[in-house]
């Protein structure tokens, strides 16, 4: 049973299409600022590619740093979309409805952003062709399928494709609505995208089945993607703290943790920006909060296991890295911040029903989680390299250069900008899904039997 008033279709269309049909005053200034940040970052990248990676803080033995950290972070964020849409859809969780679209879109954009990182971090990005695509068989240049660096792109591209399909399927009915509300060029474009949607029973049926099928198919992909990303580290035998067996599940849960938090935050933002109080309602955020308590605790278990196993082997070089993480500045400070922000602060906040329904507190909790999760990746990747192996003679520290900081910072601007621009052209809260959800609350009497107004997803 859901709360909130029942809205007429006209209302829904008016509200949810507001973001597209007229743009709020703050919109373009914000986009402009973001664009400026991106411009600076692209110049930084230009210089970096031209001069060489010397402009970063990387060295020997710390050959991976901020870029890879950020890559893993965005992959993590991307896990929210499918997590919510697919699982909740299969689980028929009613409250999911307004959240799904924003979640899925966030998946797409964070995936795209994540993919930028490993490319700019390579020494010769323009030669990526060599490995992602075996472009010339005659000369025998096949990619090396034994390396996680080839598993990565395959997994991520698969995930990207399926998520895109997922989004489009869900969008078709809304395209139709948009088609009916626009004129001129926009009208023609939406007509094309709507693919002749009329909303008849057969189309609805196919659309819903497609959605359910995709949900089921996409779940294994979503689990595999972050497992494979984790193997970039798990398979690296030479770096003690990377070569951990628990990484795959640990990373997946971590990803869900940060991803769902991110989605919750985005929803709160949308509600605030476009005044969608009637669609993104407190009970939605509440539900996400409750889900997050479970996810966070699961993640915390893995964290403890990871450290426990690390210690258990009692190998001097592994202990040396742990010592670096726990005892030596600045890593020890970051480590405390990481654990507190990722688990204790948010969970403490989520435990109270009242706070779960307080959007400000919720936002703080969700941001806190993602600060922590970014640090988690950093604290996994860098210390393991700083104290690499037993050759204490060559141990060297790492500090990011302005270039790395700018480029990493810009990825956040990029995702935000893409989300905003998207909200300009497509509804970020699925019209039909919401309508459907409301319609389902109304039932019709036929003789003695009560039948739903429309058939349900099953």
């Amino acid at each position: 049973m859901q709360e909130g008033r029942i809205l007429s279709t006209r209302e829904i269309n008016r509200d949810l299409l507001r973001s597209i049909l007229e743009s709020p005053r703050w919109f373009w200034p914000v986009v402009a600022v973001l664009g400026l940040i991106l411009l600076v970052a692209s110049i930084a990248i230009g210089i970096m590619v031209n001069r060489g990676l010397g402009v970063t803080g990387l060295n020997r033995p710390v050959a991976w740093g901020f870029f890879i950290t950020n890559f893993v972070f965005w992959i993590g964020i991307s896990h929210a979309g499918v997590m919510l849409s697919a699982i909740l859809r299969l689980a028929k969780a009613e409250w999911r409805r307004p959240a799904t679209r924003a979640a899925e879109v966030l998946t797409l954009f964070s995936l795209m952003t994540a993919m930028i990182m490993p490319i700019v971090h390579t020494g010769r990005p323009w030669r990526i062709l060599y490995w992602v695509f075996p472009y010339d068989f005659a000369r025998g240049i096949w990619p090396n399928i034994r390396t996680p660096l080839v598993w990565d792109p395959s997994a991520i591209l698969t995930y990207l494709t399926s998520s895109t399909l997922f989004v489009i399927i869900a969008l078709v009915p809304d395209f139709a609505v948009l088609r009916d509300h626009t004129t001129g060029v926009a009208h023609r474009v939406y007509t094309l995208l709507a693919m002749g949607w009329e909303g008849n029973a057969r189309q609805w049926k196919l659309q819903i089945i497609a959605g359910v099928l995709l949900s089921a198919l996409i779940l294994p992909v979503f689990v595999s993607v972050h497992s494979i990303v984790s193997w970039d580290f798990g398979m690296a035998v030479a770096v003690k703290t990377w070569h951990s067996t628990v990484f795959a599940p640990y990373f997946v849960v971590g990803a869900v943790h940060s991803g769902v938090s991110a989605v919750a935050f985005v929803l709160i933002l949308l509600r605030w920006c476009y005044g969608w109080q009637d669609y993104i309602r407190h009970e939605h955020i509440d539900a996400l909060g409750r889900l997050l308590i479970v996810v966070a605790t699961g993640w915390f278990y893995f964290l403890v296991m990871e450290l426990l196993f690390g210690m258990y082997g009692r190998e001097a070089d592994e202990l040396a890295v742990r010592a670096l993480q726990f005892t030596s500045w600045p890593y020890n400070a970051w480590f405390i911040v990481f654990v507190v922000t990722t688990y204790f602060i948010p969970v403490a906040l989520w435990l109270s029903r009242a706070w779960r329904r307080n959007l400000w507190i919720m936002s703080i909790a969700c941001i806190s989680v993602n600060i922590g999760m970014w640090l988690e990746r950093f604290l996994i990747i860098v210390p393991g390299l700083v104290n690499k192996q037993v050759f204490t003679f060559t141990w060297a520290d790492y500090a990011p250069s302005p270039f790395e900081i700018i480029i990493v910072g810009a990825t956040f601007a990029l995702v935000t900008m893409l989300m905003l621009l998207f909200s300009r052209v497509f509804p970020l809260v699925p019209l039909y899904d919401v309508k459907e959800g409301d319609i389902l609350k109304t039932e019709v009497q036929i003789g003695r039997r009560t039948v739903p107004a429309t058939f349900r997803e099953d």
């Binding site: 001069r51 060489g52 990676l53 010397g54 970063t56 990387l58 060295n59 020997r60 033995p61 050959a63 991976w64 490993p118 971090h121 390579t122 020494g123 010769r124 990005p125 030669r127 990526i128 060599y130 490995w131 240049i141 096949w142 990619p143 090396n144 034994r146 390396t147 996680p148 660096l149 080839v150 970039d232 398979m235 690296a236 035998v237 030479a238 770096v239 990377w242 390299l385 690499k388 192996q389 037993v390 050759f391 204490t392 003679f393 060559t394 060297a396």
Partner: protein, 262 residues
């Protein structure tokens, strides 16, 4: 390209009891293999290139203190962790069992650098450059690397190829153990080393001076180290990278640490 190859299994023995840390091998390698000049920043940024390096370890306290020198170069692992992780096969095992680096192909992911337990892979963070006139010295047999790629010790493969050509020209047929012993092929660092701490040879050659050490170490694995008859061991043996280098332990009459279990 030399077509016909004899089955060699190149290997090196590093006698830590001979090495005196003089650095001659380091410079010899830099000269032979066109290593970029390490300016002050290379050291300040800990990005200096030394395909072979001398690690200095302190042991004990003044006045009973010792400095220990270990030459570390690519171990040419049979089971090289750097190889499977390279997406483009830029680093691979060649016909002679060397771990070689194909600079043209490297895209600079630096994964191999992370996955090399011995830290002997070097990334070109900047474009290497030499003053106009110094370029006359560059070895034409060795590619000059560009920025954004990884480089490493190749066991001086270009010298191996020259040796094969030379032997073939001399009508000696293929490079074989005898022609090898005639001093036709020696890596630059081995040739330079004044104390003969570095010995190079063919593990397939029964007469090779490195043979007894490889036999011994191969016979008794890391778990039976104490049964070994020689001072031989492999670096990070427990990682099972199966290096083609063997180290001979330093002999320490009056150790400042007392008896060592090894």
């Amino acid at each position: 390209m030399v077509t016909s190859r004899v089955d060699h299994k190149w290997g090196m023995v590093v006698d830590l009891d001979r090495c005196n840390g003089c650095q001659a091998c380091v410079v010899a390698c830099q000269v032979e293999n066109n290593l970029p000049i390490n300016d002050k920043n290379a050291f300040l940024q800990s990005r200096a290139y030394e395909w072979i390096r001398i690690e200095r370890y302190w042991e004990g306290e003044y006045p009973n203190i010792k400095a220990r020198f270990i030459p570390v170069l690519c171990q040419h692992c049979e089971n090289a962790p750097c190889e499977p992780v390279c997406p483009v096969y830029a680093t691979y095992h060649n016909d002679d069992g060397l771990n070689v680096q194909l600079y043209n192909r490297c895209v600079g992911t630096r994964y191999c650098i992370n996955n090399c337990p011995y830290q002997v892979r070097f990334f070109n963070y900047w474009q290497p450059n030499w003053p106009e006139r110094l370029q006359n010295q560059l070895n034409p047999d060795v590619s000059v690397r560009t920025r954004g790629i990884t480089e490493k010790c190749t066991f001086c493969i270009q010298r191996l190829r020259r040796a094969e050509l030379k032997v073939e020209r001399q009508g000696g047929g293929k490079l074989n153990d005898t022609t090898l012993k005639a001093g036709n092929y020696m890596p630059a660092c081995v040739q330079a080393c004044p104390t003969n701490a570095l010995v190079f040879g063919d593990q397939n050659d029964v007469q090779s001076p490195i043979q007894p050490y490889f036999d011994d170490v191969n016979r008794y694995d890391v778990h039976h180290e104490h049964e070994r008859k020689t001072r031989g061991y492999r670096l990070l043996e427990e990682m099972n990278t199966k290096p083609n280098l063997i180290y001979l332990k330093k002999v320490e009459p009056n150790s400042v640490k007392g008896e060592h279990h090894g």
